[in-house]
């Protein structure tokens, strides 16, 4: 299969930049340096696809190239099913992905239907053509540790010891995010070759093979309040227990091992190779052993919490597995409830923008502008400086930055202006992750333990999609199963193209207000004070009815 690449530059292949923007984003999701398996149309996250199959992809490209400025393409789980006459301000693409009637919302039924060619799994941003690579993971992790610093340590992690584990794709963002926030990190990873790999690519600073060695190294850095990251080869449960035994209490403890998948979690006492061998030979015993180790792992974290460490679950289902292994009680909170929700309450979320020109300079320019407008916001400036230093662009250059409802509108308008006056080489696509305030209902993650118990209420993403649909979004979609799998989440995606026109300005003004403002209302409705206050404030762009 031929690998298609996104056009760059400022020449149109479509009848307008709205369509062109979506075409480029779609193909960008399949850029070999961005997509996991471009030949299978999989962008990321196990099997998150951008189109149902190659034939559908080709047709979508063809349609986007010919789509009129008052037409709307309907995409049903990655298949282009219809083109309808709407009007100029309507979305150019409307999508629904992997949605099933709830009673049938299981992986089993899903795969059966997928096999019949009737549906496709789009994860979150794969299905909505707004995946931009791993920058989002880095940002999410950075944001979490930044919040940890803010909430517990007066704004930075200097002189603080953070213990975590897992240096896989998700976990390897941790050492970078911790040191960027000034902290000292010990990250436990069972696979020595992975630690070596991270060392070579400067993700971690030092490799250690024993806790004593690691502690020796960190002691100096902690006392001098300088950042450093240690990759410690070992089993997380063993190391965490050793901390307890030694009576050493890190300031922060979390975990990013693949605890959600017992088959990937390496039981204590096993090397990676031995584990693979046992998994092959006797998966049942393997899982039993893994669960036993997880129990020790979680217990150690609870002990460290009791001794004063800040402990949280990092979305890998560790606590659920711990409970499955017989542990009782609240254990420790999740990162969403502790650190992300306060951001959501302010309508702050994973805003991102993509330079359709393909030229990094466009993004660096927007970086400069964002740093200039929000120069008093240390969080934004520090993040931009950090990501500029540590992150290479692939495919269409893009930037992720968590902005609130006011900042999004302001920044959106400025970008559109920059496009209009030719300061940028081509239009910018403005989009976001589905893991945003109003955009997702996911009781095991984003909407876990809501104050009012509304975890499973899925009206919000539906309202979010419909509202964006009539607020000028260029692409709108509603999907099932992103992040946590079929049956466990409903979420909506949104993209709007800032092409410098007046119409785009209007689109941006409306959609960049409404989209996050609905998030504030969702959290206000659930009883969160910050959200309630914001919703009541004069400058809030929508009216909360209650």
């Amino acid at each position: 299969m031929e690998i298609l690449k996104s056009p760059t530059g400022n020449q149109l292949n479509c009848k307008g930049w709205q369509q062109e923007g979506l075409l480029r984003l779609l193909l960008n999701c399949l850029h070999p340096d961005i997509a996991k398996k471009p030949q299978d149309l999989i962008a990321y996250g196990g099997s998150g696809k951008v189109a149902r199959n190659y034939e559908c992809l080709i047709r979508i490209i063809d349609i986007l190239k010919n789509l009129e400025n008052d037409e709307t393409l309907l995409v049903q789980s990655g298949k282009p099913v219809g083109v309808f006459r709407t009007f100029s301000f309507a979305p150019r693409v409307i999508m629904a992905g992997a949605l099933l009637v709830p009673k049938w919302s299981t992986w089993e039924t899903f795969y059966e239907l997928e096999k019949k060619g009737l549906t496709a799994y789009g994860q979150s941003t794969a299905g909505s053509w707004s995946y931009i690579g791993t920058q989002g993971i880095l940002q999410g992790t950075w944001e979490t540790f930044n919040q940890v610093a803010k909430k517990h340590f007066g704004g930075n992690l200097r002189g603080k010891l953070i213990l975590s584990s897992g240096l896989g794709e998700m976990g390897s963002a941790q050492p970078l995010a911790i040191t960027a926030n000034g902290g000292v990190a010990i990250i436990v990873e069972v696979d020595k070759s992975v630690v070596k790999k991270r060392l070579l690519s400067s993700v971690i600073d030092v490799m250690a093979t024993s806790l004593d060695e690691a502690l020796d190294i960190t002691a100096g850095y902690i006392s001098r309040k300088e950042p450093v990251s240690i990759g410690l080869v070992g089993n997380a449960a063993d190391v965490y227990e050793e901390f307890v035994k030694k009576g050493i209490v890190p300031d922060v403890v979390t975990d990013q091992t693949p605890a959600h998948d017992l088959k990937s979690y390496v039981p204590s006492g096993f090397s990676v190779e031995e584990a693979a061998e046992l998994r092959e030979r006797n998966p049942h015993i393997y899982e039993e052993k893994a669960l036993k180790t997880i129990k020790r792992h979680v217990s150690a974290m609870v002990s460290l919490k009791e001794k004063g460490a800040v402990v949280f679950d990092y979305g890998n289902n560790l606590r659920t597995q711990g409970r499955k292994a017989g542990l009782k009680g609240a254990l420790f909170p999740s990162f969403v409830a502790e650190y992300i929700r306060p951001l959501f309450c302010e309508g702050r979320g994973p805003f991102r923008w993509v330079a359709l020109s393909g030229d990094p300079e466009d993004i660096y320019r927007t970086d400069e502008v964002i740093k200039a407008i929000f120069k008093n916001d240390k969080r934004i400036v520090e993040w931009i400086d950090f990501v500029e230093k540590r992150f290479s662009f692939h495919g269409l250059p893009a930037r992720v930055c968590w902005l609130n409802y006011r900042e999004r509108v302001l920044f959106g308008e400025i970008i559109n202006h920059m496009v209009r006056i030719g300061e940028l080489k081509a239009p910018i696509a403005i989009t976001r992750d589905h893991m945003d305030a109003a955009a997702v209902a996911s009781p095991f993650r984003e909407t876990e333990a809501m104050k009012d118990g509304s975890d499973a209420i899925a009206d919000w993403p539906v309202l979010n999609a419909m509202l964006n649909c009539c607020s000028g979004a260029t692409l709108v979609g509603l999907y099932q199963g992103g992040g946590v799998g079929i049956g466990y989440s409903i979420h909506s995606g949104m993209t709007v193209i800032a092409d410098g026109t007046e119409e785009a300005e209007k689109r941006l003004q409306l959609v960049l207000k409404s989209d996050p403002a609905l998030g504030v209302i969702r959290y206000a409705d659930a009883g969160y004070e910050i959200a309630k206050e914001i919703a009541k404030s004069q400058s809030f762009p929508a009216k909360a009815v209650f």
Partner: protein, 406 residues
């Protein structure tokens, strides 16, 4: 200006490959400021095969000309691709490439590129070159990893030979099996050296190199350093066997460099061979020098003692060598065997006595170490062509002739 920019570019790219630039943004702006339009993600390294041996006798100017020609050839060969040529060391050139595909495809694609580049350079510069290729790193700040891999890949030409294009993906990691380098090799080699058996020493080296070729890949550096250990041992043996300190030091200096700079196992083997050859020669020479002393002393002793019954064993013992060695060495040194030599001495002495005294044949025989008169007569006749009694009769005549000449 252009020249300045050229050096700035060179400096920047070398820094990039050495992982000395921290910020991705800085990298991007430097690329742009220096007019580099590519976003390299893969590194290839090129070096001449057997550069050391082939340029050993060339002048610096000649070497520089070759270098420039190589760079020219590389620039030309890289043209069809998005790539930058960066001279790194005397015989090492990096090519920074922007490749599209990943994984298997990248291997295939870059191997093809590499072959094309090799062919063009070999054609243009009339030399043999090999190329090492690293993996593709999509993050530019990890480009140094590709460079390191390319160097590692190039190292494998040590085993594979000349004119190679090697991708890091296609080589096995070095095994750390050092069995075939056991100490037995050294003692065997010592025996051959001590006995000045050049061919025997060569065949041990041949076996050694062959066994390296058939075992998994050893790190060429380990092999080289092991060769150097062998050098060290052999030199010690040679010195004790009488090799000259200065000569041995010169041999070492030359061949240690040769080993370290050899590009292929083939070349290294040649270096080892030459070295061992040189060592054997020197041991031989040393032997010769040492024999001089031993046999001079033996001859002195024989000259002092041939009038008594004298055995080879007795003389050998006197000069502290084995009878066997003495017997051989003596013949080498004097061109005749011990018996012949002693006989010659005795017969000469007997002639003097027969002419200048009136002693009887029997008495003369006794005086020169032959207790048996008959045996003395037989030996004398064999040497002179007449029995001692007849020789004694020719005394007058002998004197006369002497006078007539005076």
């Amino acid at each position: 200006m252009r020249r300045l920019r050229f050096f700035a570019r060179l400096g920047f790219l070398r820094e990039l490959l050495s992982n000395n630039i921290e910020s991705v943004k800085d990298i991007w702006f430097l690329l742009k400021a220096l007019g580099i339009n590519a976003m390299p993600n893969t590194v290839m390294v090129v070096s001449h095969d057997n550069y050391y041996t082939e340029t050993r006798n060339k002048s610096e100017i000649q070497k520089r000309a070759l270098r420039l020609k190589t760079i020219e050839a590389l620039e030309e060969a890289v043209k069809p691709f998005v790539g930058l040529v960066v001279p790194m060391e005397e015989n090492l050139f990096a090519i920074l490439l922007e490749t599209e595909s990943d994984g298997e495809h990248q291997v295939k694609e870059t191997l093809q590129m590499g072959s094309q580049i090799r062919d063009r350079v070999e054609d243009y510069a009339q030399v043999s070159v090999s190329i090492g290729i690293g993996r593709r790193y999509k993050d530019i700040h990890n480009l140094h990893l590709s460079y390191k891999e390319a160097l590692a890949a190039l190292n494998y030409k040590f085993f594979l030979g000349k004119s190679q294009v090697i991708h890091i993906e296609n080589v096995l990691p070095y095994s750390d099996d050092m069995e075939l380098f056991s100490m037995a090799v050294e003692s065997e080699l010592a025996v051959k050296v001590l006995s000045c058996d050049k061919e025997g020493a060569y065949s041990i080296i041949e076996d050694l190199v062959n066994s390296i070729g058939t075992a998994g890949f050893l790190n060429p550096l380990s092999i080289k350093s092991r060769f150097l250990e062998i050098f060290n041992f052999v030199v010690k043996v040679a010195f004790e066997a009488g090799g000259d300190k200065e000569v041995l030091a010169a041999l070492c200096g030359r061949y240690i460099e040769g080993i370290l700079r050899s590009d292929t196992l083939e070349e290294a083997r040649e270096q080892v061979r030459e070295f061992i050859g040189g060592i054997v020669e020197e041991v031989y020479e040393g032997r010769k020098r040492m024999n001089l002393v031993v046999f001079e002393r033996a001859i002195r002793y024989i000259q002092e003692n041939f009038r008594k019954p004298l055995t080879l064993e007795e003389v050998a013992d006197h000069v502290h060598v084995s009878p066997y060695y003495f017997s051989h060495g003596f013949k080498n040194f004097t061109g005749m065997s011990f018996i012949q030599y002693v006989t010659k001495l005795r017969v000469e002495e007997a002639k003097k006595l027969l002419l200048s005294t009136n002693l009887s044949v029997k008495e003369v025989g006794k005086m020169v170490g032959y207790s048996d008169a008959n045996y003395f007569s037989r030996v004398f006749k064999n040497e002179i062509g007449m029995p001692p009694s007849r020789f004694k009769l020719s005394k007058k005549f002998h004197i006369m002739r002497n006078f007539s000449e005076g």
